[in-house]
């Protein structure tokens, strides 16, 4: 190291004079200062330790924090209530004729219904609603039911479809080869379900003729 008059003194001499100490011992030529610990650094350390005590005290001695269980049940219950209200509102404005005459007749609604269908439904019902896929020239079945064969196992009215999509296959139903549809009401809003329903209606014009 370079020499200069501001260089710290070694050992006891420096300590007595309150200067920065360069320790006397060397390890393979490596020397060590003995600088004071930076105050800001000490404060972060003390701060974290004090926060430990404060947090632990607040959690275990006071009702400041809810437990995770209390919190999640409160939050999910609120969500469920909101969702139920939303469903009630949608149901109040929907009936078979509205779905056919208004929703399925609106190309914008059908288009957004198709987008939702493409994301969520094609795995089991296929893009062409036939519930089959092409495997090297032959059509093989997908897990879902065809939505264009005129068969409506769980009711053929538009509102039946809405409820089926919302709640999934009815409890106790054997399903198709054991396959049960999940309750899409969990991932989709009532409005989105109505849009998908409108899309399916629009794909079956003979079955659901528009009535003036």
């Amino acid at each position: 190291m370079s020499d200069s008059s501001s260089e710290p003194k070694r050992g006891h001499f420096a300590k007595e004079k309150g200067e920065v100490i360069l320790r006397e011992h060397e390890y393979d030529g490596i020397q060590e200062y003995d600088q004071k610990l930076p105050n800001w650094w000490l404060f972060t350390f003390y701060g974290a330790i004090i926060w430990f005590a404060v947090y632990w005290f607040l959690y275990y001695q006071t009702p400041t924090f809810r437990t995770d269980r209390e919190k999640i049940i409160a939050e999910m219950t609120a969500i469920q209530e909101k969702k139920a209200a939303e469903l009630e509102k949608t149901l109040a404005s929907l009936d078979d004729q509205t779905l056919i005459n208004v929703w399925a007749a609106d190309p914008a609604i059908v288009a957004s219904g198709e987008a939702i269908y493409t994301t969520n439904c094609v795995a089991c019902h296929a893009a062409d609603l036939s519930a089959t896929m092409d495997a090297g020239g032959t059509k093989i079945p997908l897990p879902g039911r065809s939505l264009i064969d005129g068969q409506w196992t769980y009711g053929g009215k538009p509102m039946d479809m809405f409820k089926l999509i919302n709640q999934g296959s009815p409890a106790g139903s054997p399903g198709l080869n054991g396959a049960l549809m999940q309750a899409w009401g969990q991932m989709l809003t009532p409005k989105q379900i109505a849009e998908v329903t409108a899309f399916i209606i629009a794909k079956n014009p003979q079955e659901f003729p528009v009535t003036p």
Binding site: M1, S2, L22, R23, H25, Y27, D28, G29, I30, Q31, E32, Y33, D34, Q35, L37, P38, W41, L42, T44, F45, A48, F52, Y55, W56, F57, Y60, Q61, T67, D68, E70, K71, I72, I73, M76, T77, I79, Q80, K83, E86, T119, A123, M133, A135, G136, T138, I140, P141, P143, A171, G175, N177, G178, A179, L180, Q182, A183, Q186, T189, K191, Q192
Partner: protein, 845 residues
């Protein structure tokens, strides 16, 4: 200093240093290359094997190659980088510096050779077994049990070699670098052994003795502290030796070394549970994990300060010396990632960051920035000295620095963005405020560009590192491998290791610390009232300790000065400091009746076929991308829980029999905790859950058929390789030994049950009209018989069982009990299910 009565000339063993260094560079390139490959797999699923079709001009045909899927290569990448690259780098640094700090040749040349070649053999074994799908299914602890034993043995060889060197040292006191090496050796041995305790079922397979929550705790006690004591402490030791050497400046502060060393090794161990935040893990463990992580910030930055401030007066070298460049950047990245670590450990932040790429970005700012750059600095400093020549090209080293730095920044920034934006999308509610806005796969598609940038960043980093390899190679060629010699004064026996055990253990500073820890633990564990008394006592004791330190500080310092001249008492105290945290977290969860933690839900036992399927799930490394843990967070429960069940997070009891636990640490795909379902109507064993068997069949064959935009590999080989029915009796016998209450079954009954269930599923699949890609002539009963033997059916059986549990009534709510702080909390009684919650459609039975 001893005015050497006798002098002797010693030759340092620099051959081992050269060997470890070269091995580190070679494995580093391999490990990083694998990293780049798996990074591209996240952008293009074809990188899981199909790309070979085009580059081999049709020689290889297939939709995927099982040996190179993400699930199998990711463990290879992490193991290669941690244990092969950093491991060998650490050994090179330890061997070089320890000999010089002890003024003695390594303990035994034979042990050095066994250590080097043994470690390389282990790496080769890992590189063969991991792609072959032989794994224990625990992160950074994937290697199968015979290799575990080899690792433990070689580590002991290293330890013996190291401690012999300490014992015969010709330097009375231990330099701070050696403290960190001691902490590394002792702690890694402890962590590795405990987390690898398992019972073999065959030469290549075993089950860990811990299950469910306990396995999770042990795993992250290990996983987090592998980062601490494999990737951090040895590198800090290396920093303390090589940085002042390279900068030719004294270390900034000796007392900072003492404070940050002891606080770091003591606090680090407690932080493991921060990998399990917001799960159903008991809250007191989560609180400890979070709060200790926050306390870890300062000790970590102590290391950074001592590094960066040592450079005071040497900053001008930054312009000219690539070694200093790499050191300065590496230590800065250390500071950044040890600030980010505590940040990510805050429960609210963790709710966003966990299971996303943010965590991956975080570990890479540590691995690439800290480990990779510190390694490069050390290599560039060592090579000219080991081969007695000049560095071949300083400009190439500078080039390495800039290419590498840009690589890291691209990589880390891309993954920060990816993690945060994906998390925000996953948590986003739509305009009604009652439904999630995005499907999982939509959030995955949205970070495609970040995944591309990450691959580019990783590639740049790899290129930089290859430049390093070339530079070191050319340097070695231009010089002559030389072993340094030194004339040293032989240190008399009485000048070192003179302290009695009594003197090293019974003294003021230790008494205060020990009493303090006891009081703080009593504060954690005692019932209400008594715990406050313990807290008050702890505070009074701290005040007394501070006063005593003010008065007798000299004596305390003197004790520590003497302690570091005695390597065995020092090592013992290090061991005690690192053992406390883990013991206090893990033992209560082992001791407390396990039934306490099930919270009303008890996992349904697997059937033999489901167990076989689970082992396939683990062998394919599915846990690398899928969690099985719905956290106690609204977006998690909304997305993965069942409709109408407000508390449908994953309760601890649901995975209590899982050896190993499969909660996962990253969601590249969605959580799978509720994929399963009840027994199908009329079926004896077969269950059908959220999705049916045909869906799963199609999905494993081509994930994009069922989920457009998925980046999951195709798994065609599951349709062409047979389930191992024969090994099931042995596996079940081992599971019984480790506490899974399997019903008594004979070998024949086990195999019969598995085959029956497989036949049920295969029948269902054939009725569903599935076909085989490879052989579409197989139909009807033939197809059914064929499928029933294939792995895909066993895996489907497992998928359909996920999350199955039975409700268990508990008498009288939570009982206050020792070792369970949460049970003393006011108002900690379980909340009754709200009346409006409809009865849960129990997924099983």
């Amino acid at each position: 200093m001893s005015q050497g009565n006798t002098k002797t000339t010693i030759t340092y063993d620099d051959t081992s240093v050269r060997q470890f260094m070269i091995a580190s560079i070679i494995w580093g390139i391999v490990g990083m290359l694998v990293g780049v490959i798996i990074a591209t797999q996240l952008s293009w699923w074809q990188m899981n094997g199909k790309f070979l079709e085009s580059i081999s001009f049709g020689l290889f045909k297939g939709e995927g190659l099982q040996y190179i899927t993400f699930g199998r290569l990711r463990p290879l990448h992490t193991n290669a980088v941690i244990f092969a690259f950093v491991g060998n780098m650490m050994f090179a640094g330890v061997y070089y510096s320890t000999q010089r700090l002890c003024k003695a040749r390594m303990g035994s040349d034979l042990l050095s050779r066994i250590h080097f070649w043994g470690w390389q053999l282990i790496i080769v074994a890992a590189a063969i077994t991991l792609p072959a799908g032989l794994t224990r299914g625990k992160e950074y602890a994937e290697l199968i049990w015979p290799i575990n034993i080899a690792v433990a043995l070689i580590w002991v060889v290293f330890a013996i070699n190291f401690f012999i060197t300490l014992a015969k040292r010709n330097e009375p006191s231990l330099y701070v670098a050696l403290w960190f090496y001691i902490a590394t050796i002792v702690t890694i041995a402890m962590l590795y052994i405990v987390n690898h305790l398992s019972i073999p079922t065959s030469w290549i397979h075993s089950y860990p003795i811990f299950g469910g929550l306990q396995d999770g705790l042990v795993q992250w006690w290990y996983g987090h502290n592998a980062v601490a004591f494999f990737l951090t402490t040895p590198i800090l030791g290396i920093m303390y030796y090589f940085l002042p050497k390279a900068a030719n400046r004294p270390v900034y502060s000796y007392r900072l070394s003492i404070i940050h060393f002891w606080s770091l090794v003591f606090i680090y161990i407690w932080a493991g549970p921060h990998h399990l935040l917001n799960t159903d893990l008991p809250r007191w463990l989560q609180n400890l994990g979070m709060l200790f992580s926050l306390m870890l910030w300062a000790p970590s930055w102590g290391g950074m300060l001592n590094g960066l401030l040592t450079l005071r007066g040497a900053w001008n070298q930054l312009r000219t010396d690539p070694v200093i460049k790499f050191f300065a950047a590496g230590i800065t990245f250390y500071g950044m990632s040890t600030f980010e670590g505590p940040l990510l450990s805050i429960r609210a932040v963790n709710a966003i960051s966990h299971y996303t790429d943010w965590t991956i970005g975080h570990v890479h700012s540590g691995a690439l920035g800290w480990n990779g750059f510190m390694a490069a600095a050390m290599f560039y400093w060592l090579a000219p000295r080991l081969w007695k020549t000049k560095l071949w090209s300083t400009s190439l080293a500078n080039m390495h620095f800039w290419v590498g730095l840009v690589g890291i920044l691209l990589y880390v920034a891309a993954l920060w963005t990816a993690g945060v934006s994906q998390a925000l999308m996953l948590n986003q509610l739509d305009e009604t405020g009652s439904t999630l806005k995005y499907e999982f796969v939509e959030t995955l598609k949205s970070i495609h560009i970040e995944y591309l940038l990450r691959s580019i960043g990783g590639t740049l980093y790899l290129v930089g590192f290859i430049l390093c390899g070339i530079n070191i190679w050319m340097t070695a060629r231009s010089g002559v491998a030389t072993n340094d010699t030194a004339e040293v004064a032989v240190l008399q026996r009485e000048k070192k290791d003179f302290m009695s055990w009594k003197e090293s253990i019974f003294n003021d500073p230790l008494a205060y610390i020990f009493l303090g820890i006891v009081l703080v633990c009593l504060w954690f564990f005692l019932p209400k009232g008594a715990n406050i008394a313990a807290l008050v006592a702890a505070i009074l004791l701290s005040i007394k300790a501070v006063m005593s330190f003010r008065k007798n500080g000299e004596q305390w310092a003197n004790w520590h000065e003497r302690l570091i001249e005695n390597y065995l008492p020092f090592t013992l105290l290090v061991f005690v400091s690192v053992a406390i945290g883990g013991a206090l977290q893990i033992i209560p969860s082992l001791v407390i009746n396990r039934d306490k933690n099930i919270e009303g839900r008890l996992q349904e036992l697997y059937t033999p076929l489901e167990l076989a399927g689970r082992d396939i799930y683990i062998a394919e490394g599915c846990y690398n991308c899928h969690s099985q843990m719905i956290r106690t967070l609204k977006p998690d429960v909304m997305r993965y829980g069942r409709t109408g069940v407000a508390d449908d997070y994953s309760h601890l009891g649901e995975s209590i029999y899982d050896h190993p636990y499969q909660w996962g640490s990253k969601r590249t795909g969605p959580d799978l905790a509720r994929e399963g379902g009840p027994l199908a109507q009329g079926a004896k064993h077969m269950r059908i859950g959220k999705r049916d068997n045909v869906w799963h069949y199609n999905h494993f064959l081509n994930p994009r058929q069922t989920s457009d935009g998925s980046n999951m590999p195709n798994y065609p080989w599951l349709y062409e390789s047979k389930t191992d029915f024969k090994s099931l009796p042995k596996k079940i016998a081992v599971q019984q030994k480790i506490g899974v209450p399997w019903p008594a079954m004979t070998k024949d009954e086990i195999e019969q049950s598995a085959r029956e269930q497989a036949m049920e599923i295969a029948t269902n699949l054939v009725q569903g009209g599935v076909l085989l890609d490879s052989n579409d002539k197989l139909q009807g009963d033939e197809l059914r018989n064929y499928l029933s033997e294939q792995k895909v059916v066993a895996l489907i059986a497992y998928m359909q069982k996920l999350g199955a549990y039975k409700e268990v009534k508990r008498e009288g709510g939570v009982q206050a009990s020792p070792l369970d702080p949460d049970s003393y909390r006011p108002g900690s009684m379980p909340v009754e299910k709200p009346a409006e919650t409809p009865a849960a459609p129990t997924p099983a039975n």
